[in-house]
């Protein structure tokens, strides 16, 4: 690329991925509530708010609105995927997975296995997640741990626009059902230089976003930035943190984490969701099982509390992990000599 770098928001990067994939493959269809943005009562159309905004102008046959029938349209995505389309269905908030969970758990995830491999389900379910928008308990969850638990699903959660575009392309081209997590605070809050052309980033590959030899920090989604913030603070104390963005939660690139832990001997996992049966304890437990000998200190998890997400801004801000909490967790993995030396 010789031109001056083009900066896109996370939201626009997703929009671009949808457009490029629809253009490249007419079997890619996109639907959800207000994905076109309404068929107003006088026929006025096209007031989508999110990453699908404006796409109906270019792809009038490939994008359409659905009534508030998640069970039906997510189930339809499964049936369509198994018969020749590549549907990208939009859940809006991942919290609404509750009303169509059977379609995800028992249909999308299991169809291929149940029929002995004689079908495939190349669908994507896009969903907004995360705290920070003052949306309250039913619109702020992470929930990726639930999907990661379910065999048959792939779970992707990009942390920046470049990954968002490349991973959404991969998800659409993938032959298995993918739940695609878009952190709502990143839509406008995360911007970056995004190549204009169509490209993919492989599902299942973590990225070392910062190298360091003293401690490994694995952080998911919006937490990647918090982890990088923590790493800066730690660096000022002479502690070098390696920060890993798994990008994909299922399959999970444990090898990259293992390699890092073998080097650093310390692991901190940062996860915006509640702690029990979370991606945080999953990574902690798996590393403790498979790289126990490499660990020189207790693994540490930094997560939200075992509580729903509160509405009040002051409470919500206390819910999610942040750089300071990550710094504290990292410190607790270090021998006191190192910490006293540093501070």
């Amino acid at each position: 690329m010789t031109q001056s770098p083009r900066v896109l928001s996370y939201l626009d990067a997703l929009n671009e991925a949808l457009a490029l994939e629809m253009a490249a493959d007419p079997s890619v269809v996109v639907f959800g509530e207000d994905n076109v943005g309404g068929h107003g009562c006088d026929g006025t159309m096209g007031h989508a708010w999110g990453p699908t905004r404006g796409l109906h102008n270019q792809f009038p046959k490939q994008i359409f609105d659905a009534p508030i029938t998640e069970a039906a349209f997510v189930g339809a995505a499964v049936g369509a995927a198994a018969t020749g389309l590549r549907p990208v269905a939009d859940l809006l908030f991942v919290d609404f997975a509750g009303v169509c969970f059977d379609q995800i758990l028992n249909q999308a995830a299991k169809l291929r296995y149940m029929v002995g491999g004689k079908a495939k389900v190349p669908m994507v379910l896009r969903a907004m997640w995360g705290t920070g928008m003052r949306r309250g308990a039913q619109h702020s969850q992470a929930l990726y741990s639930l999907f990661t638990h379910i065999p048959g699903l792939k779970v992707v959660a990009p942390s920046n626009p470049v990954d968002a575009k490349g991973l959404l392309a991969s998800a659409i081209q993938d032959d298995d059902p993918v739940i695609f997590f878009e952190h709502k605070l990143l839509y406008f809050g995360s911007r970056g230089v995004v190549p204009e052309e169509r490209y993919t980033i492989p599902i299942g590959e973590a990225k070392v976003v910062r190298e360091g030899g003293d401690v490994t920090i694995v952080a998911v989604g919006r937490m990647v930035n918090e982890a990088l913030g923590a790493a800066e603070k730690l660096a000022a104390e002479g502690i070098q943190a390696e920060v890993i963005d798994p990008r994909t939660l299922s399959p999970f690139d444990f090898d990259t984490v293992y390699a890092s832990v073998e080097k650093t001997s310390r692991l901190v996992v940062v996860d915006e969701s509640s702690p029990r049966c979370s991606i945080a304890t999953d990574i902690a437990g798996t590393v403790a099982e498979n790289r126990f000998a490499s660990l020189s200190a207790a693994v540490r998890t930094v997560t939200g509390p075992h509580a729903p997400v509160p509405f009040s801004p002051v409470l919500e801000d206390a819910f999610a992990p942040n750089a300071d909490k990550i710094v504290d967790a990292v410190r607790s993995t270090l021998p006191s000599s190192v910490i006293s030396k540093a501070s």
């Binding site: 107003g40 009562c41 708010w49 508030i68 308990a137 009040s312 002051v314």
Partner: protein, 325 residues
């Protein structure tokens, strides 16, 4: 459609009905203004334009009756008697809010007044109302439950299942579908194909009517009948109320470009339930003005109080997850 008539309501009742609707209107208009300043957090869906539905339905209820509401719940809460100071504090996420600031606009509730909560999930209230109706039935209490559901939410499976469960169990519940023409930007012409939800309820075996939701008296008459049926052991009913919303789907969210040219202006001009009520009620200008003054002052107090109120203690983050754990 039932027609407009002040019917058998006495003056006190008429004034109370006006007070409720006028309070909702003032509350919502004020919240709209406050949201515009950027100080008010959260997802706020305003009820202005639909006041006659909440007021007409809740006017038919007693204190012991239950309502389960929607994401657009302020009007229902006010009509069921919730304290607007506590509500406004809730919107601001403050201590002393209806939910101590932990719920926000989408979860305002007041169990003491039978308000089981706004709900962030489309049609979320319908099964809950079946549940409170079950309580009344099993414990042989004379209470009726009402589930408010939007036109878009009426397409949810949980709503259809609730209609079925209510008829099979013959629950004392009234489903009130509020057809305001849109689910977000999607019109009913598209998502309901222009059909009445009432026909679905009939197919499940319950009586259903369609009424003009800007006509307090029509709503009230339908509600009186359905509530009486439920209270007398006659089982569930559905009332479909048609009334447009004055504001966008959600504050700060949409520019309403999906609406027809002049649609909102026409609504405000020709389909304002307050204007229609004032005309039909035969209350005097003085009587109405007295309510206006009191209501506006009360809303003013609520906003000032909410702004001045303290935020919740940080410890609240971890309380109320369980009764015991």
């Amino acid at each position: 459609m039932a027609t407009e008539s002040a019917g058998p309501l006495g003056r006190e009742e008429l004034i109370e009905a006006y007070r409720v609707m006028r309070t909702i209107r003032a509350f919502e208009e004020r919240v709209h203004t406050e949201f515009g300043t950027g100080e008010l957090p959260g997802a706020v869906h305003l009820y202005a334009g639909q006041e006659a539905v909440a007021a007409g339905v809740c006017g038919a209820l007693t204190e012991g009756d239950y309502i389960a509401s929607t994401h657009r719940g302020h009007g229902h809460a006010i009509a069921k008697g919730c304290d607007i100071n506590a509500m406004m504090r809730e919107l601001y996420g403050k201590a002393g809010g209806s939910c101590n600031g932990k719920g926000g606009s989408m979860h305002i509730a007041d169990f003491e007044r039978g308000m089981l909560g706004a709900n962030g999930v489309a049609a979320g209230g319908a099964p809950l109302a079946c549940g409170s109706a079950l309580t009344a039935k099993v414990l042989e209490r004379p209470h009726v439950s009402v589930a408010f559901v939007g036109d878009g939410a009426a397409n949810q499976g949980s709503f259809a299942e609730s209609l079925n469960l209510a008829t099979v169990w013959q629950l004392p519940v009234v489903f009130v579908v509020e057809d305001n023409g849109y689910a977000q930007a999607t019109g009913t012409r598209y998502h309901l194909r222009g059909l009445d939800v009432a026909r679905r309820a009939e197919a499940y075996g319950m009586p259903a009517v369609v009424v003009d939701g800007t006509d307090y008296f029509a709503v009230r008459a339908a509600a009186d009948e359905a509530v009486k049926r439920a209270r007398d052991g006659g089982g569930p009913s559905l009332i479909e109320c048609q009334a447009g919303r004055f504001f966008g789907h959600m504050e700060g969210f949409d520019q309403q470009g999906y609406r027809g040219e002049g649609e909102v202006e026409r609504l405000r001009a020709d389909a304002d339930c307050l204007v229609r009520f004032a005309a039909a009620s035969a209350l005097s200008t003085e009587q109405l003005a007295e309510v206006d003054v009191t209501v506006d002052a009360a809303v003013e107090v609520a906003v000032a109080d909410a702004k001045a109120a303290p935020v919740p203690e940080l410890s609240e983050l971890l309380t109320d997850v369980y009764v015991s754990y």
